[in-house]
Point group: C2
Chain length 349, copies 2
């Protein structure tokens, strides 16, 4: 038996999930007899992503992701080492990336039902946080949606909110490679510097101290890639160009607000400016054939064949914020929703 | 000289345009010498359309239609007879449909700049109100947007707001011809009857006395054709199916509300349900090639070759509300914005 710290979903939050997660120490039997298909994993790193906030809900509300279960561990993506296996998919001592379903705990027992979510990354030659971030869900979200939905053309002006986060940082760089003009909104002056000096965007501003409408009026906007929603979306509707396109990735500004969400009053601009909106979720884009000319069969194949090597060669920058210890989960998630830290949020165990 | 009653734009409204229009009696010289390109028109009928509300604004606000000018006549579409002409486009004693730019007056002097807006309809064999309504702007709006943007398939469920209005009545019938299931929202029980019994929709309800959310939950909704905006749009976002499409034609609920417009809080559903939105304005669709297979070069050609004859043959119903006398303009426009009357609003002079 070893002790196994685990993060349980403890209460449904109305606003910020300040008391929603509880750390408990359970016992885990490393010497247990494994049934066919079972494997024991040691968790090396866990990923926190904003969409997890919508899993912290009353389970009677249906939406695009399953709810967390009260009293059970929360789960998401991460990196694990296989300690013991009775499942051909999981090889002992090798390292796996879990896209989803990895419980927030130090050790985990999985069955064959998990196989599809775990990929062997032993030979990936990149740090765990990069495998989770730029090569994981946020990087893929940015890449797939950029290639399949944004379809940017050189010279087009794109406004990206939460531009230095896990999704935004990849997106900014993809846009610049294709010659788009990028305006980036972030929540601190340090992030402004990062976007302009490291990601190479044309202009970045701190939305807490600058006027979003003035920034948009001065820069112009053909495309809005929206990670934020709320008041910023309203500002964009008034400032975006005729025939503007809005790619709706997330609305982090609204996740904690419940019934007091900001109400957007100027939706008539959709008519007046002939705007289009497109919402998406990442896993539905994975199996799509690339919209552009490509030698790959799916957009995921193309991503895996290009992005990790570009990161190794230093052609793409990645910025992560690493917390230490599973005990940090609750605070890390609050920081993430508040935008208090910089880069993709991961927890090193 | 004859007297020429004219409707002037008299004040910019904040909410309902109760005092914005003023009738004045001017003098008009029927015997004037016409300069080259000039013609004198006698106005037979005028059209009132909801979009005119957005022309009653502070001219410093830019949007998709030009503002009315304070102290000048308002203008829109209508039907005229040519009394006198020094312009080859306008033939004396013939009848013309004006799509736009016809001043609200009993007599009008036009120049060559107006030629493009006037079509000879002397041989149309349809009443003026039908030429303005089902064969004019609202009918074309419904047809072009249905064919080019809705692209409905048999069995798909479409929700249409303001369904018995000028646009809605044509749209309901086009949808039923293609086998869509139609849910219609209207503002009176009489309109419910009309939609169900005459237009043949699958279900209609009075949104003032029925619960829009319950109606949508019971009927289902793949496509929302939005003429209304506001609270109804919010209701739809919560009830529309995953991958739902919203075609944004107008937002009559918001035109009078100014800064107190209803704020839509649940835009996150765009992400969660992977929705798409498309705004449009009619005149930009006119020159498009039909999206579907068609022997016509433009969607307008197709419309003109098919819809008027279907109306003559009784295959399409049209419902208009005819006011008598130019003095009725202000009240008619208020009624239109309030949804108090039934069918396309026109003024018989």
């Amino acid at each position: 038996m070893v002790s196994n710290k685990t993060v349980l979903f403890d209460s449904i939050p109305n606003h910020e999930p300040v008391d929603s997660l509880k750390i408990v120490t359970q016992q885990f039997d490393l010497d247990r007899q494994l049934a066919p298909g079972e494997a024991i994993l040691k968790v090396e790193m866990l990923s926190l992503d904003p969409y997890m906030r919508s899993r912290m809900r009353d389970p009677s509300i249906e939406t695009y992701v399953p709810p967390f279960t009260l009293g059970e561990p929360i789960d998401n993506g991460g990196v694990v080492i296989v300690l013991k296996s009775n499942n051909a998919h999981f090889k002992v001592d090798r390292k796996y990336y879990a896209g989803f379903t990895l419980p927030f705990s130090e050790y985990a027992l999985v069955t064959e039902a998990s196989n599809a979510f775990y990929t062997d990354i032993t030979d990936a030659e990149l740090p765990n946080e990069t495998l989770i971030g730029a090569c994981g869900l946020p990087g893929k979200t940015a890449y797939y949606s950029y290639k399949q939905l944004v379809r940017g053309k050189a010279g087009e002006k794109i406004f990206i909110s939460a531009a230095s986060g896990g999704i935004g940082q990849m997106l900014c760089q993809l846009c610049k490679m294709d010659g788009l003009k990028v305006l980036a909104a972030v929540g601190s002056d340090e992030k402004v510097d990062y976007c302009e000096k490291t990601l190479g965007v044309d202009r970045a501003f701190n939305y807490k101290t600058s006027d979003t409408r003035k920034e948009l009026a001065a820069f112009g906007c053909d495309i809005f890639y929206d990670n934020v929603g709320g008041k910023m979306l309203e500002d964009v509707l008034d400032q975006i160009n005729v025939y503007g396109r809005v790619i709706c990735c997330g609305q982090i500004a609204t996740y904690n607000s419940g019934a007091e969400a900001y109400g957007i009053k100027n939706t008539f601009q959709i008519v007046a400016k002939r705007l289009s909106f497109q919402g998406f979720i990442t896993f539905e884009l994975i199996p799509q054939k690339p919209f552009h000319e490509s030698k790959y069969n799916t957009i995921e194949e193309e991503f895996m064949a290009t992005i990790p090597s570009m990161i190794k060669e230093g052609k793409l920058d990645v910025k992560n914020h690493v917390y230490n210890g599973i005990e940090a989960t609750s605070q890390a998630f609050l920081d993430l929703l508040r935008g208090d830290k910089h880069g993709k949020t991961v927890i090193q165990l």
